[in-house]
């Protein structure tokens, strides 16, 4: 690997990490294209490799957030442990519904969330 490629992969990793720590996402959205474009991995291998990197990065972020007093570990563990049920449902849906419809549907959901976050939030019941 030449120095330019190495610098690029380090930069992509750093940007993904900042995004992950700042916003609470895994960073896979940045890792996957980084691995495909810079390291020449196939899509499936990149997604799998990204997941391992996500575990490490999210673990570091969660550990720091615990230190800052922001982590509600019980809720986080509950969501993490229960989500595989949804994953199975998602795979089933993916095989039944046209991909284009799913993409547009998910985009609409994300735009709705964005609007709710920008609009500001009423005091939600705890």
């Amino acid at each position: 690997m030449d120095p330019v490629e190495l610098a690029a992969i380090l930069a992509v990793g750093f940007v993904a990490g900042v995004t992950s720590g700042l916003l609470g996402v895994g960073g896979g959205v940045i890792f996957v294209p980084g691995l495909v474009i810079l390291l020449g991995e196939g899509q499936l291998e990149a997604e799998a490799t990204s997941l391992l990197a996500v575990v490490v990065v999210a673990g570091a972020g969660a550990w720091r957030q615990q230190h800052y007093g922001n982590l509600r570990l019980r809720d986080g563990v509950l969501i993490g442990v229960l989500s595989p049920v949804g994953v199975v449902a998602g795979v089933v849906i993916a095989n039944e519904v046209p991909e284009r419809g799913l993409e547009i549907g998910f985009a609409v959901v994300q735009l709705y969330f964005a609007w709710r976050l920008v609009r500001g939030l009423p005091e939600a019941p705890a």
């Binding site: 992969i9 990793g13 750093f14 940007v15 993904a16 990490g17 900042v18 992950s20 720590g21 700042l22 916003l23 609470g24 895994g26 960073g27 959205v29 890792f31 390291l39 291998e45 997604e47 799998a48 490799t49 990204s50 997941l51 391992l52 996500v54 490490v56 990065v57 570091a60 972020g61 969660a62 720091r64 957030q65 800052y68 922001n70 982590l71 509600r72 570990l73 986080g76 563990v77 509950l78 969501i79 993490g80 229960l82 049920v85 949804g86 994953v87 449902a89 998602g90 799913l102 993409e103 998910f106 985009a107 994300q110 964005a114 609007w115 976050l117 920008v118 939600a124 019941p125 705890a126």
Partner: protein, 118 residues
């Protein structure tokens, strides 16, 4: 089941569904729903989402690992700078207004939606 527990179960299921559909997307579902449904602050939502993602990602990486799809060296190469970035990102998050974090998250959602559609 309390309504709070029911909402957590719904968030977990939704995050899983979108992960199963698109291979990514846990955090973009978990963070907004913790804020909108459970009244979480932005910092708490991000922190708690990361803990959930560790578990979701570990399961996914483990299954992929069984099929031999994971490239551990490449993961290390990209994860090391990313850990440095994550420490910087969490530190930065403590220093800026939660409202700005929410706006940055909204920008991420719009960008993600655009990537999906176009």
């Amino acid at each position: 089941m309390s309504s709070r527990l029911a909402r957590l179960v719904a968030i977990a299921t939704a995050a899983g569904v979108f992960s199963g559909l698109f291979g990514v997307g846990g955090g973009t579902i978990i963070v907004p729903l913790l804020i909108i449904w459970l009244g979480y602050g932005e910092r708490e939502a991000a922190a708690t989402s990361l803990a959930a993602i560790v578990l979701i990602g570990a399961l996914g990486a483990g299954v992929h690992g069984l099929y031999g799809n994971v490239d551990p060296l490449a993961a290390l190469l990209i994860a090391v700078p990313a850990v440095v970035g994550a420490l910087a990102g969490t530190a930065l998050q403590q220093r800026i207004e939660p409202r700005r974090v929410a706006l940055a998250f909204a920008a991420l959602l719009v960008a993600s939606a655009a990537v999906l559609v176009f």
